[in-house]
Protein backbone atom coordinates (compact mmCIF):
# COMPACT_ATOMS: atom_id res chain seq x y z
CA UNK A 1 0.00 0.00 0.00
CA UNK A 2 1.18 3.46 -0.80
CA UNK A 3 1.51 5.91 2.04
CA UNK A 4 -0.89 8.37 0.42
CA UNK A 5 -3.54 5.65 0.18
CA UNK A 6 -3.06 4.77 3.85
CA UNK A 7 -3.35 8.46 4.73
CA UNK A 8 -6.63 8.86 2.85
CA UNK A 9 -8.12 5.61 4.20
CA UNK A 10 -7.30 6.33 7.83
CA UNK A 11 -8.32 9.97 7.61
CA UNK A 12 -11.81 8.92 6.54
CA UNK A 13 -12.14 6.55 9.48
CA UNK A 14 -10.45 8.56 12.24
CA UNK A 15 -11.54 12.14 11.67
CA UNK A 16 -15.22 11.47 12.37
CA UNK A 17 -14.06 10.00 15.71
CA UNK A 18 -12.29 13.24 16.57
CA UNK A 19 -8.75 12.08 15.83
CA UNK A 20 -6.88 14.17 13.29
CA UNK A 21 -3.55 13.61 11.63
CA UNK A 22 -0.78 15.83 12.84
CA UNK A 23 -0.82 18.60 10.27
CA UNK A 24 2.97 18.69 10.30
CA UNK A 25 3.45 16.41 7.34
CA UNK A 26 7.13 16.00 8.15
CA UNK A 27 5.87 14.07 11.15
CA UNK A 28 2.79 12.38 9.71
CA UNK A 29 4.21 10.94 6.51
CA UNK A 30 7.35 9.41 8.02
CA UNK A 31 5.13 7.90 10.73
CA UNK A 32 2.78 6.41 8.15
CA UNK A 33 5.79 5.09 6.22
CA UNK A 34 6.99 3.47 9.43
CA UNK A 35 3.58 1.90 9.99
CA UNK A 36 3.93 0.29 6.58
CA UNK A 37 7.48 -0.80 7.47
CA UNK A 38 6.14 -2.47 10.61
CA UNK A 39 3.38 -4.10 8.63
CA UNK A 40 5.99 -5.59 6.36
CA UNK A 41 8.32 -6.58 9.20
CA UNK A 42 5.78 -7.83 11.73
CA UNK A 43 2.57 -8.37 9.80
CA UNK A 44 0.73 -5.64 11.69
CA UNK A 45 1.03 -1.90 12.11
CA UNK A 46 2.67 -1.59 15.50
CA UNK A 47 3.29 1.90 16.84
CA UNK A 48 6.52 3.07 15.19
CA UNK A 49 7.70 4.79 18.37
CA UNK A 50 7.41 1.76 20.63
CA UNK A 51 9.43 -1.40 20.92
CA UNK A 52 7.30 -4.19 19.48
CA UNK A 53 7.60 -7.71 20.82
CA UNK A 54 7.01 -9.24 17.43
CA UNK A 55 3.80 -11.16 17.99
CA UNK A 56 0.29 -9.90 17.38
CA UNK A 57 -0.93 -11.12 20.78
CA UNK A 58 1.89 -9.46 22.72
CA UNK A 59 1.61 -6.22 20.79
CA UNK A 60 -2.17 -5.90 20.63
CA UNK A 61 -2.12 -2.81 22.83
CA UNK A 62 0.25 -0.90 20.53
CA UNK A 63 -1.27 -1.72 17.18
CA UNK A 64 -2.16 1.63 15.68
CA UNK A 65 -4.40 3.22 16.78
CA UNK A 66 -3.08 2.02 20.12
CA UNK A 67 -5.18 1.60 23.24
CA UNK A 68 -3.36 4.53 24.86
CA UNK A 69 -4.37 7.03 22.19
CA UNK A 70 -7.65 8.03 23.76
CA UNK A 71 -6.13 8.91 27.13
CA UNK A 72 -3.13 10.64 25.56
CA UNK A 73 -5.16 12.80 23.21
CA UNK A 74 -7.52 13.61 26.08
CA UNK A 75 -4.66 14.68 28.36
CA UNK A 76 -2.02 16.04 25.98
CA UNK A 77 -3.88 16.67 22.73
CA UNK A 78 -1.61 14.18 20.94
CA UNK A 79 -0.91 10.47 21.06
CA UNK A 80 2.51 9.19 22.12
CA UNK A 81 3.99 9.21 18.61
CA UNK A 82 2.01 12.35 17.64
CA UNK A 83 0.43 10.82 14.56
CA UNK A 84 -3.05 11.50 15.92
CA UNK A 85 -3.91 14.77 17.57
CA UNK A 86 -6.95 16.78 18.54
CA UNK A 87 -8.25 19.68 16.48
CA UNK A 88 -7.14 22.07 19.22
CA UNK A 89 -3.59 20.70 19.13
CA UNK A 90 -3.37 21.24 15.37
CA UNK A 91 -4.75 24.75 15.84
CA UNK A 92 -2.00 25.56 18.34
CA UNK A 93 -4.41 25.99 21.25
CA UNK A 94 -2.61 23.33 23.28
CA UNK A 95 1.06 23.47 24.18
CA UNK A 96 2.98 20.82 22.27
CA UNK A 97 4.88 18.81 24.80
CA UNK A 98 6.57 15.43 24.96
CA UNK A 99 3.88 12.86 25.71
CA UNK A 100 5.14 10.47 28.39
CA UNK A 101 4.92 6.74 27.79
CA UNK A 102 1.75 5.27 29.24
CA UNK A 103 2.37 1.67 28.20
CA UNK A 104 3.55 -0.31 31.22
CA UNK A 105 7.17 -1.48 30.69
CA UNK A 106 6.09 -5.00 31.71
CA UNK A 107 4.45 -5.22 28.30
CA UNK A 108 7.90 -5.35 26.77
CA UNK A 109 8.82 -9.00 26.80
CA UNK A 110 12.32 -10.23 26.28
Amino acid sequence: MEVRELYENLKKIQEPKGYYFNEDEDMTFPLLESLLTNKERLGYMACPCRLANGSFEADKDIICPCVYREADVEEYGACFCALYVSKEWNEGKIEKEVVPERRPPEKILF
Partner: protein, 83 residues
Protein backbone atom coordinates in the same frame (compact mmCIF):
# COMPACT_ATOMS: atom_id res chain seq x y z
CA UNK B 1 33.04 20.41 26.60
CA UNK B 2 32.71 16.90 25.35
CA UNK B 3 30.41 14.44 27.03
CA UNK B 4 29.69 10.88 26.13
CA UNK B 5 26.32 10.84 24.42
CA UNK B 6 24.39 7.64 23.92
CA UNK B 7 21.10 7.45 22.04
CA UNK B 8 18.79 4.48 22.43
CA UNK B 9 16.42 4.66 19.48
CA UNK B 10 14.03 2.77 17.23
CA UNK B 11 14.67 2.80 13.50
CA UNK B 12 10.99 3.60 12.84
CA UNK B 13 10.51 6.32 15.47
CA UNK B 14 10.05 9.91 14.33
CA UNK B 15 11.00 11.42 17.70
CA UNK B 16 14.23 9.42 17.56
CA UNK B 17 14.94 10.65 14.03
CA UNK B 18 14.27 14.25 15.02
CA UNK B 19 16.42 13.99 18.13
CA UNK B 20 19.31 12.52 16.17
CA UNK B 21 18.99 15.21 13.53
CA UNK B 22 19.06 17.86 16.24
CA UNK B 23 22.20 16.40 17.79
CA UNK B 24 23.74 16.34 14.31
CA UNK B 25 22.85 19.99 13.80
CA UNK B 26 24.46 20.82 17.14
CA UNK B 27 27.60 19.01 16.03
CA UNK B 28 27.28 16.54 18.90
CA UNK B 29 28.92 13.17 18.41
CA UNK B 30 26.91 10.28 19.78
CA UNK B 31 26.64 6.56 19.74
CA UNK B 32 23.24 5.26 18.59
CA UNK B 33 21.68 1.85 19.13
CA UNK B 34 18.53 0.89 17.24
CA UNK B 35 16.94 -1.44 19.77
CA UNK B 36 14.31 -2.75 17.34
CA UNK B 37 17.10 -4.19 15.22
CA UNK B 38 18.65 -6.20 18.07
CA UNK B 39 17.88 -9.80 18.87
CA UNK B 40 18.40 -12.29 21.66
CA UNK B 41 20.86 -11.53 24.46
CA UNK B 42 21.97 -8.26 22.96
CA UNK B 43 18.39 -7.01 22.94
CA UNK B 44 17.75 -8.22 26.48
CA UNK B 45 20.91 -6.61 27.83
CA UNK B 46 20.22 -3.35 26.04
CA UNK B 47 16.68 -3.18 27.45
CA UNK B 48 18.13 -3.71 30.94
CA UNK B 49 20.58 -0.86 30.36
CA UNK B 50 17.76 1.43 29.20
CA UNK B 51 15.68 0.52 32.27
CA UNK B 52 18.46 1.83 34.51
CA UNK B 53 18.16 5.23 32.86
CA UNK B 54 14.47 5.25 31.98
CA UNK B 55 12.20 2.69 33.67
CA UNK B 56 9.44 3.31 31.09
CA UNK B 57 11.77 1.97 28.35
CA UNK B 58 10.55 4.60 25.91
CA UNK B 59 12.35 6.10 22.95
CA UNK B 60 14.45 8.01 22.39
CA UNK B 61 16.32 7.63 25.66
CA UNK B 62 19.31 9.94 25.42
CA UNK B 63 22.10 9.65 27.97
CA UNK B 64 24.26 12.77 28.07
CA UNK B 65 27.04 12.45 30.61
CA UNK B 66 25.18 11.93 33.90
CA UNK B 67 21.87 13.25 32.57
CA UNK B 68 19.07 11.38 30.90
CA UNK B 69 16.66 12.98 28.44
CA UNK B 70 13.55 10.98 27.62
CA UNK B 71 11.80 11.86 24.37
CA UNK B 72 12.85 14.60 21.97
CA UNK B 73 13.02 17.77 24.03
CA UNK B 74 15.42 20.41 22.67
CA UNK B 75 15.53 22.42 25.90
CA UNK B 76 16.38 19.38 27.99
CA UNK B 77 19.01 18.25 25.49
CA UNK B 78 20.59 21.73 25.51
CA UNK B 79 20.59 21.84 29.31
CA UNK B 80 22.14 18.39 29.59
CA UNK B 81 24.84 19.34 27.09
CA UNK B 82 25.62 22.58 28.99
CA UNK B 83 25.50 21.29 32.58
Amino acid sequence: MSKDVKVYALSTCIHCKNAKRYLDECGVKYDCTFVDELEGDERRQTIEQIKEHNPAVSFPTIVIGDSVVVGFNKDKINKALED
